[in-house]
């Protein structure tokens, strides 16, 4: 009886999924989630392929993929984790690609105007950054602060990812932070300074197709992501 029931449910479910369109599962670093969702909606509309977005920190997604999570495409917030997957032979013959380059913003909501570079260099007290040990924006923040000789001078409130860092500043629990420029654009925030790119290694957000059965559809989405109009869209959302 139970076996019958299970098979009925199973058959029912497979009919259901057969009836729907093709679907790809995309793992997205949390800082790119909102943009990715936007782009995926347009893509589904044009290509009639469903896109499921799963977002978490790059490190977490990397762990999941390493242990066999069923993603077809990985959009990391850095280059490193993509390379690690490459070394672990988890991506087949697929080559990594760059889909966006992040920018850091020094955000101080309580400032009267947009802070200047001098203001940033003169800043004292606590500063929110992403964890420089593993978060790409955190690594860049440390580099930027080191390059202006401030790294040793401040106390850091570390978010485990750049979204959390944003949240720390947004809730006023800390006065200022180095956050993702994209988040500032998306939330239409004021009073920030765009950190010059020469102060840190580029925050390259790379992706890779994961060589699953849906590789063909995943490749379509990759190409779509790199197409000119979409790249312009990404640019307008606070990426280079």
């Amino acid at each position: 009886m139970l076996r019958l029931l299970v098979s009925v449910i199973f058959v029912g479910l497979s009919c259901f999924s057969v009836a729907s369109q093709a679907t790809i599962n995309v793992a997205v670093a949390s800082n790119f989630k909102v943009s990715a969702q936007d782009i995926a909606d347009q893509f589904s509309h044009e290509y009639n392929i469903d896109v499921n977005i799963s977002s978490a920190s790059t490190g977490t997604l990397y762990q999941q993929i390493l242990h066999g999570a069923p993603f077809d495409l990985f959009l990391s917030a850095d280059q490193k984790h993509v390379d690690l997957l490459l070394q672990a032979n988890k991506v087949g013959d697929n080559q990594p690609f760059v889909y966006a380059q992040g920018r850091l913003g020094f955000w101080m909501p309580s400032a009267e105007t947009n802070p200047s570079i001098e203001d940033f260099i003169a800043y004292t007290g606590r500063l929110a950054i992403a964890n420089p040990k593993f978060a790409p924006y955190g690594v860049a923040a440390q580099q930027a602060l080191t390059s202006v000789g401030k790294w040793e001078d401040l106390q850091y409130i570390q978010g485990s990812n750049i979204s959390q860092t944003y949240q720390f500043v947004e809730s006023n629990n800390v006065k200022a932070g180095l956050v993702a420029y994209a988040a500032l654009v998306q939330k239409k925030q004021q009073h920030y300074l765009l950190i010059p790119t020469k102060w840190h290694q580029p925050i390259i957000q790379a992706g890779v197709v994961l060589g699953t059965a849906q590789a063909e559809q995943a490749n379509l989405f990759r190409d779509y992501l790199q197409s000119k109009p979409i790249q312009q869209l990404i640019h307008s959302q606070g990426y280079n």
């Binding site: 593993f134 409130i157 629990n173 800390v174």
Partner: protein, 228 residues
């Protein structure tokens, strides 16, 4: 074996758990007593609130605490009126969060002990001349000592294992908010697996022996007393 950062995190975690446990042991017993004895209409509501951290994702608690700690809100403003920094990302903030988060783990064993406490022992205590409060701390407290230890030990252990809330409001400041579970998370996220293994194994060993102490020894002892 452990790096300096790890040792600092271990020490900080023990400090956090100790302070939290001491605070909880001060006000959880009266609360548990009230929950065990009161007929008041609001008792189920209070009981639910106390139990809330059992089912609520720690991130929810962390999120609300972050908001409450901010200068935009009363608690945060009040705190900032005599402190330089926000409650968030501070040891005190973690203590507040841990007290809330570990509250049910301390209240529930006590409440259960108080419910099972035979009222007749209170009557005898009164006839021996012990007043309303005196009989509690001179007689009932020693009698239910195993339950008090269990409650404290569970609160302590739960604080040691606390992660989600600290992640939300800690800010990962070494020596201030960078506790063991966060340190462990850092190790995993930055792919330092052998360090992660060391800390994980230590936590696992601690938890197992702690629980064996609680359930294998203390709880049996208490049951023996309560069933006598």
């Amino acid at each position: 074996m452990f790096s300096e950062g790890d040792l600092q995190a271990i020490w900080l975690t023990l400090k956090l758990a100790s302070v939290t446990t001491i605070l909880l042991m001060l006000f959880a017993p009266p609360l548990a007593w009230w929950l065990a004895r009161s007929q008041a209409k609001i008792r189920p509501l209070v009981e639910s609130l106390v139990a809330l951290p059992l089912i609520l994702p720690p991130t929810v608690l962390g999120f609300y605490l972050l908001i409450a700690f901010s200068p935009n809100h009363f608690l945060g403003r009040w705190w900032l009126s005599f402190n330089e920094h926000s409650l968030a990302f501070s040891f005190s903030g973690l203590v507040i969060a841990s007290v809330v988060y570990s509250l049910p783990f301390v209240v529930q064993p006590l409440q259960s002990a108080f419910v099972h406490l035979d009222k007749r022992y209170l009557e005898v205590s009164a006839t021996l001349g012990y007043g309303k409060y005196e009989r509690l701390y001179k007689i009932i407290f020693p009698m239910l000592l195993p339950s008090f230890i269990i409650a404290g030990a569970l609160g302590f252990a739960h604080t040691i294992g606390e992660f989600g809330v600290v992640l939300m409001i800690g800010g990962n400041i070494p020596g201030e908010t960078q506790v063991l579970s966060i340190q462990l998370f850092d190790h995993v996220e930055s792919l330092q697996y052998s360090e992660a293994h060391q800390l994980s194994f230590m936590l696992l060993a601690f938890s197992v022996s702690w629980l064996v102490l609680i359930y294998g020894f203390l709880q049996k002892r208490q049951q023996r007393i309560l069933n006598a």
